[in-house]
């Protein structure tokens, strides 16, 4: 059913509207089985949503905020677009950043702007699973969809994550609890393993829990690879990693003898020292196990459309994040063109920040530099980043107010069915207006 068919344009005060098959974009699970009850532009019920999804839908409200502010003062959309375009067109080292909480349609316009102004385009991937992206390039990814996991997986390993609190429906909808075509007994037909430095709330749901010593993921993964290949391991590995040789041998036996195994890895691997090397170890282990059975490894992604951001930036530039278009062709170099670095080194001189909050979650040197440069922020809500923006556009919330496409964490595209209209424009609308004006300014410059 199309979005238009489920949404009535006119909303009366006491009218109750049910929106079926809506999509939650709070986390990378992108559950598309929501049933929303909407009363007078307020979501009052979100059936099937987890605790995080409920908070996402039920707290949603239309901000009492001007559509645009320039240096904190109310402005019209047109005035905001003019100022934004002037900032970007006149910058020497502009950055375009964020993008993981907006639609693919908006993301592609943002990449196009970066291309026109010769800027760097980077997404929040660089500070979540960016190292995993580097690892995919290094050793490849044996991949599958969550549907295959649901229907086939009999050994499910979570490494460096806490899905019970960060992705509550991952287990119930995709990976542990559901009955699948070849796993007819659901949870009883699967062995769940959790590996983490902390005995988080997820541990209670696992059949096997390994509490490994901090910063020893690589060592444990590499030891497992060695055991899979029949290489002897010194039992002293337990002192180093907190996991005994017997535990490792038991898991290796389970991994080799399962029918369909998967490692879901979290930011415990990608954010900890070793980063892409930790992830390469997990991906290599999964690859090696394909000599014996079917085995896969997938990152558990955070933001609702961070996977879409990787896909869109890769379609358009050939690389998933950390791309410079400054020479007129794309160059990929994490550590050089990634936003944490361009800011912390004081290189960027202007920014376009879409749906993210670097002023609230970047390192101190990066925040300090961001404060010194003019930047444009698109966000439905106020944040540290919008407060410091030269231009802030208050935009509609994707999925709740605007349609479009997002990618689930397994690279499956999902359409959005919004619940009701917003008085604010979508990110895509604002970005298209900025792009149009940037093109005009650049053309005028060429002809003068």
């Amino acid at each position: 059913m199309s979005a238009a068919a489920v949404i009535d344009a006119e909303v009366k005060e006491d009218e109750v509207k049910i929106v079926k098959d809506a999509t939650c974009t709070f986390c990378g699970c992108v559950c598309d089985d929501m049933e929303l009850t909407v009363v007078a532009n307020k979501i009052t019920k979100a059936k099937n949503a987890c605790v995080l999804g409920k908070a996402w839908f039920l707290n949603h409200h239309i901000e009492d905020h001007p559509v645009a502010t320039i240096d904190g003062q109310p402005a019209t959309l047109e005035e905001g677009v003019e100022r934004a375009a002037q900032i970007l067109a006149n910058a020497r080292y502009p950055i375009v950043y964020g993008l993981s909480d907006t639609t693919c349609e908006a993301q592609r316009v943002a990449v196009s702007i970066a291309d026109r102004i010769g800027g760097c385009v980077d997404t929040t991937t660089s500070v979540c699973h960016g190292p995993s992206g580097m690892a995919f390039q290094g050793v490849g990814e044996v991949t599958c969809t969550l549907g295959e996991v649901k229907n086939r997986a009999d050994l499910v390993i979570f490494w460096g994550g806490n899905p019970a609190e960060s992705h509550p429906r991952h287990w119930t909808r995709y990976s542990l609890m559901p009955k699948g075509l070849f796993v007819p007994n659901g949870r009883k037909g699967r062995t769940a393993v959790l590996v983490d430095v902390r005995k988080s709330k997820s541990a209670a749901a696992a059949d096997i829990f390994w509490q490994i010593k901090p910063r020893k993921d690589f060592e444990v993964l590499w030891a497992l690879r060695a055991l899979v290949k029949g290489v002897e391991i010194d039992p002293e590995i337990e002192q180093e990693t907190g996991i005994s040789l017997a535990q490792m041998q038991d898991l290796v036996q389970r991994m080799k003898s399962c029918k369909f195994g998967i490692i879901f890895f979290g930011m415990g691997l990608s954010m900890t020292r070793g980063k892409h090397m930790n992830v390469e170890a997990a991906l290599s282990l999964a690859r090696d196990l394909n000599d014996y059975t079917r085995f896969y490894a997938k990152p558990v992604r955070g933001h609702g459309n961070v996977t879409g951001a990787d896909n869109v930036v890769a379609w358009q530039t050939g690389y998933p994040f950390g791309v410079s278009l400054g020479r007129g062709y794309p160059r990929f170099n994490p550590g050089e063109f990634t936003t944490s670095d361009t800011l912390a080194r004081g290189e960027a001189d202007a920014g376009l920040i879409i749906a993210s909050d670097p002023a609230g979650n970047f390192s101190q040197p990066a925040r300090d530099h961001l404060k010194k440069i003019p930047y444009i922020a698109l966000d439905p809500h106020e944040s540290e980043t919008t407060r410091g923006a030269a231009v802030h556009f208050c935009t509609a919330t994707y999925g709740i107010n605007t349609p479009g496409t997002v990618y689930r964490m397994d690279d499956v595209p999902i359409p959005l069915r919004p619940a009701f209209d917003s008085p604010f424009p979508s990110d895509e609308t604002v970005l298209r207006a900025i792009e149009k004006r940037v093109r005009e300014i650049l053309r005028e410059r060429l002809t003068n």
């Binding site: 605790v51 500070v127 902390r198 988080s200 901090p214 609230g360 390192s363 101190q364 540290e384």
Partner: protein, 114 residues
Amino acid sequence: MDDIFILIPGRTSRQGTTLNEGKLKADFIEETQTLFMCPDDMTRRGVVDGERVRIRSEFGQVELTCKAAKTGELPPGLLFLPYGDPSSRLMGGETHCTGMPDSKGMDVQLDKLL
């Protein structure tokens, strides 16, 4: 005492729900300023539940409210802090050619506030 702890910032259910209420609202700020610590470490360092402490890394420092973690959740020497503004202030700008600052597993020191 200058012993080194390892700090793991991460998500919690409350961090996620209060994020939706607003990052500038009191509940999110409270959640992201709550440091979880192994009860044995608290006894050893003379920190009581609910006490404010200062956490210092090589790159920054923040004041947090200390709470005892559930038994067995955190081994001695490991601290947990829900993601947010304070956890990010402890990160350095160096990304070691990855684009990602060391955001988990940071070496930090803990001071009692006098």
